[in-house]
C-alpha cells in the first residue's frame, strides 16, 4: 500500500474472531454497521453483507476445516469517493489453484452439498474481487465496491 492509498482512507476497522460459524453473521453485521454512515442503499448493504458472508464462510469451512481454535480477520476501509474495501484474511491451508476455485460451481468438497458459488457471488455483488493465496500459509480476499452517490433531500 503506497502513501497515496493511505491518504485516500477516511475510516478503517479491523476485527478478529474465532473460526466459528456463528461469527459469519457477526462479521457481516459488523461491516454493515461500519459502513452505515455512508448511507448505502438497502441493495448495496445486502450485497456487501452477502459477499462478507461468503468470504468468511470460505475461511471457516475451507481454510481452517472448521477448526474453532483458529482466527479469521476482517478489515474494512472506507476510502474517498465512497469506495468500500473489505479484506478477509486467514492463515489456513491456502488455495492451490485460485483460478479453478473461482470458477462457478467448482467445489473442493463435492460430498458436502456445497454449491461452489461463493466466489461467483462475491464477484457479482462487488465491483472487484482479488484473491491472494499461498498453500500452507493462508488466503487474503480483497473486495471493493464503490457506493452510489447518496441523494440529499
Amino acid at each position: 500500500m503506497n502513501n497515496n492509498d493511505k491518504d485516500n482512507i477516511q475510516n478503517k476497522m479491523k476485527l478478529q474472531f474465532s473460526n466459528r460459524s456463528e461469527n459469519e453473521s457477526f462479521a457481516r453485521v459488523a461491516v454493515a454497521a461500519f459502513i452505515a454512515p455512508l448511507d448505502p442503499t438497502v441493495e448495496e448493504l445486502t450485497e456487501i453483507k452477502t459477499a462478507v458472508s461468503e468470504a468468511v464462510s470460505n475461511a471457516i469451512i475451507h481454510a481452517y476445516g472448521e477448526n474453532e481454535n483458529e482466527m479469521v480477520t476482517v478489515e474494512c476501509l472506507i476510502e474517498k469517493d465512497r469506495r468500500v474495501v473489505i479484506i478477509v484474511t486467514d492463515n489456513g491451508i491456502g488455495i492451490e489453484d485460485v483460478e479453478l476455485a473461482r470458477e462457478p460451481l467448482y467445489t473442493s468438497k463435492p460430498d458436502e452439498e456445497r454449491s461452489g458459488m461463493g466466489f461467483t457471488v462475491m464477484e457479482s455483488f462487488m465491483d472487484k474481487l482479488e484473491v491472494e493465496s499461498t498453500p500452507g500459509v493462508g488466503t487474503r480476499v480483497i473486495m471493493i465496491k464503490k457506493l452510489d452517490l447518496a441523494y440529499e433531500f
Binding site: E24, S25, T50, S57, I60, M117, V121
Partner: protein, 126 residues
C-alpha cells in the same frame, strides 16, 4: 433462523424465517430431511417469504433436497424470494431444477393439478 413445516397430503411446505447462512444451513438440512422421511413427503415447496438474508449456502440446501425429492419423482417449488435471493438462485441455475412460483397457493395448485392429470390418465388406462 426458524423453520416451520406445513403438510397437505404428499406436499410439504417449508416456511423459512430469518437468515440462512452456512451456520444455520446444516440444522435446516437435517430438520427438512428428518421431516421428509417421517411424513413420506413427495413434493417440497420452499417458502422464502420471511428470509431476510441468504448466501450461497442456501443453494446447497436446495440442491441437496432436490436430489432427495427427485429420486421419488417429487417436484421442488420455490416461492416468496426477494429480488436479491432470486439473483443468487438464478446465478446457480436453481430454476433449471426447481419451479419459481408466485405464492404457496399457486404452488399447491400446480402440484395438485399434475396429480389430477395423472389420476385421469390412469383412470383412462383402466
Amino acid at each position: 433462523m426458524q423453520i416451520e413445516f406445513e403438510m397437505t397430503d404428499d406436499i410439504m411446505i417449508v416456511n423459512l424465517d430469518g437468515e440462512l447462512d452456512h451456520h444455520y444451513s446444516s440444522v435446516i438440512r437435517e430438520e427438512i430431511d428428518k421431516t421428509i422421511d417421517t411424513f413420506h413427503t413427495k413434493h417440497l415447496i420452499f417458502n422464502f417469504e420471511k428470509v431476510s438474508f441468504m448466501d450461497s449456502s442456501g443453494i446447497g440446501v436446495i440442491m441437496g433436497r432436490y436430489n432427495k425429492i427427485s429420486q421419488l419423482g417429487g417436484k421442488l417449488l420455490i416461492t416468496g424470494c426477494s429480488e436479491y435471493i432470486d439473483r443468487i438462485l438464478e446465478m446457480a441455475g436453481i430454476y433449471t431444477i426447481a419451479t419459481r412460483m408466485k405464492n404457496v397457493a399457486d404452488s399447491i395448485a400446480l402440484i395438485e393439478g399434475d396429480n389430477i392429470e395423472k389420476g385421469a390418465k390412469s383412470e383412462n388406462e383402466q
